[in-house]
Symmetry: C2
DNA sequence: CGCTTAGTTGACTCTTCTCAAAAGCAGTGG
DNA sequence: CCACTGCTTTTGAGAAGAGTCAACTAAGCG
């Protein structure tokens, strides 16, 4: 099994075979979630952590007016809720945005890793900090960029993140979201989201074919969106042999 | 010295005297920054970490159009940049928003704590996760709440955070920010920020006296802002000393 | 094929932005 | 003590980006 978590963490530092064995071995079992189901809900504190293996999920919060705001996307290789290893309970929910396959990891396994303070613990912390960096960048996007730039920025990010776990083909990737969901993410109405996507298409920066997002000109899109990939901290793995990365 | 970091971390779990000694002992020396100065800048990777002892600082990113977006506030007790213990370099800057006193902590001291995997390491991770939770809530605020609710929400948060480190008196606290800075945080123009604050005053939810923010009716303000303090995870310290829930 | 969900488009409204200028306040130096 | 200067706060007026309502089209599915 090619574990997307391993692929992801190796962006940060080379993992030993022992490390990889630990990561492989920690999943208790695998569970499937249908699109729309919650993987974990507000207030919960289960005794296991979810590792997304396939599909897209989203962290979200519901507002009293009934609308939902998505505050993060989870793609294969992302740990959904290490939080519960440390916090009292979930302060948000995570829902499957497409059908998802998820590895169930006992909390103990996570705690063991955190307690061993080795490479793996570092790698987990790194991924937590990257998640945080992404949140900061989103905050800037929503707070200070126009709808069009914001959308372009989002597409750049998702392309690079998909690439990092081998889920992009060249400059395109599968984005199993509805426009409503993207709107709930970028703080726009569905109508305006639609118009904004149309504009990006008109500019010939992206093309959309079903659920495939095809970036026509990544250079231009990045320039347009004022996108600097530094915040993703996707440096090449530690300078060692055979370090391959999807490109 | 009453260390605000200790006060903060004890919200999460009780610290042993040994833990406290470590926290006290880790500061190498203290440095002062004048309002407007950068404490750490984009791209840097120094060999020490900053602990804010006095004053307010802010994480920010600059945009090509020249405007600045503030993505987090640091108040006494907050570690500014544990990030550099794990990431290659800062992906944002931290600036002093008022005159600040800062403890300089060698990176080694942080790494030692992280490596020992005890109470303290857990407490640091907890505070990182809380920072992340705050970012998520801000994202919801900017993305989905009106200017007025967003502002009210922000005031609620800062009051509770100040309280947690003993910097509030009842329902008021010192907020050493200009309206422009708050605007740069909430994604509003300075003009609209001003009008929004005026409205909150007219509603008699808050009063502003110089740099003092006085919350007139916290209950109402929280209800108005749709503020749920859960995300701050300010639970009382763990029930008993030895009660380790880890692993 | 009809049903349901997602995407598209138009027309109108409203929140928030921009430009502009006045007023308040604090620090400085004569 | 006062005039001067620079920054912050306040207010007005018009413009623009984004939201809402509503209808229509396209696409997946049993």
């Amino acid at each position: 099994m090619d574990n997307p978590l391993i692929r992801k963490l190796e962006q940060f530092r080379r993992l030993s075979n022992a490390d990889k064995r630990v990561l492989h071995g920690m999943a208790d079992h695998v569970r499937d979630y249908a699109r729309g189901q919650d993987i974990i809900s507000l207030g919960e504190r289960p005794d296991h952590v979810h590792l997304l293996l396939d599909g897209w999920a989203g962290r979200y919060k519901l507002l009293p007016e009934g609308n939902r705001h998505i505050v993060a996307y989870l793609i294969p290789g992302d740990l959904c809720d290490v939080h519960i290893a440390l916090l009292d309970r979930m302060d948000h929910s995570i829902g499957a945005l497409s059908d998802c396959r998820v590895a169930i990891i006992p909390l103990n396994a996570i705690n063991d890793i955190l307690n061993e303070s080795g490479n793996l613990s570092r790698a987990l912390l790194w991924s937590m900090l990257v998640d945080e960096a992404i949140l900061r960048e989103w905050l800037v996007s929503i707070g200070a960029r126009s709808a069009e730039k914001r959308t372009a920025h989002f597409i750049c990010e998702m392309l690079l993140r998909c690439r990092a776990v081998g889920l992009a083909e060249g400059d395109s990737f599968r984005m199993p979201l509805t426009q409503q969901e993207v709107a709930d993410t970028l703080g726009l109405s569905a109508v305006h989201m639609n118009r904004t996507l149309k504009q990006l298409r008109r500019r010939e920066l992206v093309r959309i074919d079903g659920k495939s997002m095809i970036v026509e000109d990544l250079e231009c899109l990045m320039a347009f969106a004022d996108f600097d990939p530094l915040y993703l901290h996707q440096s090449q793995p530690a300078p060692a042999p055979g370090a391959a990365r999807a490109g």
